[in-house]
Amino acid sequence: MPKHTTIDDRTATHPCYDGEAHQKYARLHLAVAPACNIQCHYCNRKYSCANESRPGVVAEVLTPKQALARVAAVKVRFPQLTVVGIAGPGDALANPDRLITTCSLIRDAFPELMLCLSTNGLALPAQAARLVDLGVHHVTVTINALDPTVTARIHPWIFWEHRRRRGLEAARILIDNQLAGLDILVAKGVAVKINSVLIPGVNDTHLPELNEVISRRGARIHNIVPLLSDPSFGTYHGLMGQRGPTPSEVAAVRRACRGTAIQMTHCRQCRADAVGLLGADHHAEFSTRHPPAERCDGMGHLTVPPTFSTTATMLFHAAGTLPARSTPGPFAVAGGEPRVLSPSSL
C-alpha cells in the first residue's frame, strides 16, 4: 500500500478520480446511507435490488458496524483496495449519524484507506467542516444545473428546514448550498469532483456553462454521466419517456466544456454497494442477505441472470453503441448463460 503524503498522491490511487488508477486500485461503496433529502427525476427510491447496476441501488443497507466488517472482508479479497466511499443509496449527508460513525470506525481501523463520499450538496454548508475533521479527502457533489428553471425540471422537491419545498424555491436553495459547499471544500483542500447527469433537452446545452463555473470555483474533475432511463427502473424519466443521450451526444457536451476541471471519461456509474475494480463488480460475493425467493432454486443456489448490469450496458457504453433508449429490463435480456452462485460464494 503506498504511503500517502499529499492530496495529489492520494488522488493518484483513487480509481474514480484518476484516469489510470481505476485499472490498478479497487474501491468499495458502503451502503450505510438510505435516507435522502431531495428527489431526483432519474432516481427510484425503491433502492433495494440485487441485480440492477446503476447508482442508488443496493442489495442491503449496512449498519456502521456491518460496514466495518465489510471493509475488513473486502480488504482480504482485494488487497489493492484504496478507497472506501459512501454513495447512498440515499444521500451520505442526509444520514449524519451513520456517516460519522462509519467514517470514524474505518478511520481508526484502517487509517491507510481513503474515505470518500458523494452527495447532492444540500447539506454541505452545514457539514463540510465536519467531513474534513473525519478525514474525508475526496467529495463528489452532483450538480446538474445552476439555472433554477433547469434544476427544477430535474429535482422536483427538497426537504429543507422542516418543510418539503418545491419548484424554483427548492432549486434556488439547492444550487446556493451546492456552490457554497463546493467553496468550503475547496478552501479546506478537499479534492472535489462534480457529477452532472446529462439529460437531453433538459440540461445538455447548460452544462458547458456549469463546467466553467465549477472549474473557476476549484472543482478538480467534472464527470458528465449519461442519464440511465430504462423504463424498468421505474423513475420519472424512465416512465415518462425521457431518453438518455447517445455516446456521441455525451462526447459533444464534454468537448464543449472548456473549464479547467478534468473531464472524467472512465466512470462506470456504479451501484451504491459496488465492490472491486471499476466495471467488475463483486457486491454479490459479500452480500449477507438471503437470496430472493423468486430467483432461488430452493437449494440455496441463486441464479443471477446475465443482466445488462455490469456487462451489457457497460460494454455498450465502452463500445459507444448504447441504444438511445434501451427497452429490455434487467430480467428480460436474452443471450449468455446465467451465472449460478452457490451458497458458499454468497
Partner: protein, 98 residues
C-alpha cells in the same frame, strides 16, 4: 389522532430523526409510528415531518387511511402510469409499459 406507515415504505429511515416526538421506531425490519406518541406534529412544525421528508407516495397515511402523499404527488409520475408500471413489475414483464 396519529399517522401510520403503510407497507409501501422502503425503510430508508429518513423520517425517524425528524419526528419531534420520537414516535417512529423500527420493529421487525419495518418502521412503525407509535399512535400514542404521534401528535401529527401539531404545535411543533407547520407540516408533519415524516410526511414531509418521506420519498414514497402513499407510505404515510392518516387515521382514516388516506395517504398524505398520494400517487403522483412526489415523483410527478401520473397515477395511471405508476399503476401500470407496478402491475408490470409484479408480473415480471416490462413490455406493457408506455
Amino acid at each position: 389522532m396519529a399517522y401510520a406507515i403503510h407497507a409501501t415504505c422502503v425503510t430508508c429511515w429518513a423520517c425517524l430523526p425528524e419526528c419531534p416526538n420520537d414516535a417512529i421506531h423500527e420493529r421487525g425490519g419495518h418502521l412503525v409510528i407509535d399512535p400514542v406518541l404521534c401528535t401529527e406534529c401539531t404545535g411543533d412544525h407547520l407540516d408533519p415531518q415524516c410526511a414531509s421528508i418521506c420519498p414514497v407516495e402513499e407510505a404515510i397515511v392518516d387515521a382514516t387511511g388516506t395517504p398524505l402523499n398520494p400517487l403522483g404527488s412526489l415523483t410527478g409520475v401520473p397515477a395511471q402510469v405508476r399503476l401500470a408500471y407496478t402491475a408490470a413489475h409484479e408480473s415480471g414483464g416490462w413490455s406493457c409499459l408506455p
